[in-house]
Symmetry: C2
Subunit: 298 residues, 2 copies
Amino acid sequence: MIDYAALSALAAVIREGSFERAARALSVTPSAISQRIRLLEEKVGCTLVVRDQPCRPTETGRRLCQHMDRVRLLEQALQEALPALAPQGLARVTLPVAVNADSLATWIAPAIARFAAENPVLMDVAVDDQDHTTEWLRSGAVLAAVTASARPAAGCNSSPLGAMRYLAAASPGFMRRHFADGIGAGSLAKAPSLVFNTKDELQASWARRLCHRHVELPRHTLPSAHAFVTAALAGMGWGLHPEALIAPYLEDGTLVELVPDTPLDVPLYWQHARATSGLIDGLSREVLAAARAALLPP
Amino acid sequence: MIDYAALSALAAVIREGSFERAARALSVTPSAISQRIRLLEEKVGCTLVVRDQPCRPTETGRRLCQHMDRVRLLEQALQEALPALAPQGLARVTLPVAVNADSLATWIAPAIARFAAENPVLMDVAVDDQDHTTEWLRSGAVLAAVTASARPAAGCNSSPLGAMRYLAAASPGFMRRHFADGIGAGSLAKAPSLVFNTKDELQASWARRLCHRHVELPRHTLPSAHAFVTAALAGMGWGLHPEALIAPYLEDGTLVELVPDTPLDVPLYWQHARATSGLIDGLSREVLAAARAALLPP
């Protein structure tokens, strides 16, 4: 049997970021934490934690933490069935999930919040591009994710959520300054675009579809969905925005579409680990219902 | 003299994340990029790029990219003085800066956007905790940052911005459910808190000040300033929110302060590289003016 005291110490170090804080969280001494992890590393035969600020798991360390998360979910289900096991009520389990920033800024945050308010969980939400959240699932860092990929990761189920609609928009002043002579490969190669980060391909995809070839876009990088809108309103650049976030600005004319009727629809999927846990199922129901109300039908 | 063609190739690989995209951006072949970087690595005597997805700079690679950024800023200043050097107008230079998420969600985004709309720059904004943005400056990854540290990093100037006021708040339903018997170490140890990420110490600091000792808080992790507010409104947890973001909800009663008149004020500083560039000075002026209007006076 695996040494679960050691595994708890490992999970705490990863969650807390340091041996000292993990010790505090588990009410033991830092040297106890350190010793448990060293013994576990000797047994497994490799390093499990990169001792950095903050501490990070190695590939194997992450697999072990994932195992721990799943065991805790199973325990939770067991305790629901056998309340005598947990006389003081259910302990909260941590549910790690990965979502894309635009979903978190719009439709999914209320769903996650509602679920968390009504269940004995602690949500650990990571944000990454929808093309990269599958990696988080595959590596076992999370138990569920909003992804751009329909194909289920190993050990996961995949359900279509619908498509998120993006509109290319800018301020009227920006349009006059940069696109007075129309929008094409020439003007797009000069007008600053907004990108969320280096993984954000939306602007490039939209430009490629419009011009039928790759256009090298000048780029401002701004990793916040709301700051993206602020930047567009101030005339900093053009970019693809979730329709839900900019609808009021299109309405009152403070933002305009670059080319009317050229939305970019990004289909999203909900993937979750096939664990025997009612909690994951409950979260999935909440997320799917919110997606049905907010996204374009799959 | 340093081989600036090779340095441009290196900077493009880091910016674009891959050799293929760097090649496209510079209109050369991927093998030309690869060869330039290999020669530079041989000359410097160490690896400059970790070939991963995306490509990342090594410590030395980052130092070289920083040098490149600074040379470009100097070129820009020179071209302003000698317009004949740049007959087609100024090329846009990239200004890498690091800010804390709450500043980006509130007062600094409009300032950066205004500055970028009026100057020949491309902003590259990184987000990190205010206690960690100094690292970005120190490593040379950025030229300016909003930090919690007054002490200037090497080669930098530091100016006080004022303090960002945070209020501990939750929904009335959450208050009834978790704090019906008052707020103290006992109830805080059970009621779920919201934290932005593992670096976010605000909730723990506030609880420590209130209870005069460390309290181990159950934590939901939610890395988005706006989702934080959504989560609070839905009763998911209590947390420290920027006053500017939650003022309307406190007004209409959908959020309430946990303990009235217990704000947490976080002093912020603007640090920037002492480069002889009018662009950095211009950005600093814009940022300091916005801080004066939005933050508590230093």
